[in-house]
């Protein structure tokens, strides 16, 4: 974390554009000192925290240069992080080697106080059928956990479940909903080159520069930008007519590009994973609906839920503080 540089950028933007620009951050949390958190709070800079799950899962993939895992350094700061923002999102990435920890890892994150867990597979990794079987078992364990938490009225968000339920209960993904690269989202490299998405920056050298869609110094190359937009929106032949079309995560052109080298060609792992996961999620949702679970109904069918839930949380928090006082 280049904290000094970050402060310079924020100061510059405040000076030039008042508070019209909002900043967000993705961090592994290892350098989130109290001083940094205070600064972030003052400037309303919210962040997502990369933490994969439990210690074994996290440390097998996220290590310092000296090969020691970074898990403990993050966990030590969790109380401060959640005090900064109770709704801090934990971002977890699952690779074949850590698939076996998926359920225990996610449970661990919720037990540590996170309420939002955003999880994705590394689709560019080497997945095989054995891993799919492992993932299936893990998701089934988690579906029981999610069901129990929801039955107790505990508000948790677990993206692999919540996002898929939304595509049925609310609306399927439309063009640009899941990924709108080179259009409503862009990425800028340290060199000033503009890319369709952060996935395309790579090392920002000659090989990657072919993907650049302009520069902050000269503006967009509209022809190249539109190429990416159109390619990302093209109907995928492999998905036409599929009953899960609009419900699965095949719409992320960046992921497709990274895994297959083509924006509109999906890697088989996405299809296998979605087919396996969708029925687990829908059975869970059927059960919660069948139980007349009020939290489930509010969460997925009430447009005002995010606001009403937040107000509810504030009232509960105030009540707890009043009792403490």
């Amino acid at each position: 974390m280049e904290f000094g540089l970050m402060k310079d950028i924020v100061d510059y933007s405040v000076q030039k554009y008042k508070r019209k620009i909002e900043f967000r951050l993705s961090t592994n949390g290892t350098l989130l000192s109290k001083q940094v958190l205070q600064y972030l709070k003052k400037h309303e800079i919210y962040f997502v925290l990369s933490i994969d799950g439990n210690e074994a899962q996290h440390d097998s993939m996220r290590r310092y240069a000296n090969s020691h895992g970074s898990y403990r350094a993050i966990v030590e700061r969790l109380d401060d992080v959640l005090a900064f923002n109770l709704y801090t999102v934990a971002v977890s990435v699952v690779v074949p080697e850590t698939a076996v920890h998926l359920a225990s890892g996610v449970k661990c994150l919720f037990e540590k106080g996170f309420r939002y867990v955003l999880q994705t597979l590394d689709y560019s990794a080497r997945w095989d059928r054995k891993h799919i079987k492992t993932l299936k078992k893990q998701y089934k364990i988690l579906s029981v956990f999610y069901y129990e938490r929801m039955s107790k009225g505990e508000k948790i968000y677990y993206s692999p479940f919540d996002e898929r339920i939304k595509t049925w209960a609310q609306k399927p993904y439309g063009k640009g909903d899941l990924c709108d690269l080179a259009n409503t989202q862009i990425a800028i490299a340290a060199s000033g080159r503009i890319y369709p998405c952060v996935q395309f920056i790579g090392t920002d050298d000659n090989e990657y520069q072919n993907n650049s869609i302009g520069s902050v110094f000269s503006g967009f190359d509209q022809q190249k930008r539109m190429y990416f937009v159109v390619q990302n929106y093209v109907e995928k032949e492999s998905c036409t007519g599929c009953a899960l079309n609009g419900r699965c995560a095949t719409y992320c052109g960046c992921v497709n590009w990274r895994a297959t080298g083509c924006l509109n060609k999906i890697p088989p792992i996405i299809c296998e994973h979605e087919r396996m996961l969708m029925s687990i999620v829908d059975k869970l949702a059927n059960k919660l609906w069948g139980d007349n679970n009020q939290l489930f109904k509010r969460k997925f069918y009430e447009r005002t839920y995010p606001v009403s839930s937040y107000i509810e949380d504030c009232l509960i928090k105030r009540g707890v503080q009043d009792v403490a006082d």
Partner: protein, 178 residues
Amino acid sequence: MLRIKKVKKYTVAQYPQGIYRVKPDSPAQALWKGSVSSAVMLAILESCDGVGTTGPPPVLPEMVTENEARNVIERVFDNNDIDLQEDVDYLFRYGINDSTQLDLDGYNDSLNVGYEYIAGADSGTFTPEVINALDSAQSDSGPYVKTVDEFERSPDFETYLENLIQEFIDTLKVQGII
């Protein structure tokens, strides 16, 4: 090897689609509900003993839904370490020149084993002729597909279904297919 495969039919999700809300009564309904006449009607109905011409209309037996059946059946397959893919297209060849495209609720490609709970529109594909042919194939070279006709819900329907599927799996084990 992992592969891309289109799902032809998907019926697992049974919870409502779209923003759900309880529709408020229309003004006419509200008036009717609140009126004296409705109170009189309710009093009359409540005073009936539920037989004869004033009795309630006949109610269709409550059947085990496809979703409930799938949950039980998949659990049994799971317990036997048999991994099934859901909603699988399967071209079933039978007789000399006959074939039909089936959409199986669950199927294991490598074992050639699967099942189908025949409910609703399934009976259009799973005709008596096809079911007989599937049954015959089980004592031959497969496929080994257990078909279960939709049946009436009873308190112990899960146990009944579990035993039925376990018996099917045990037979396949004895035959050396699993």
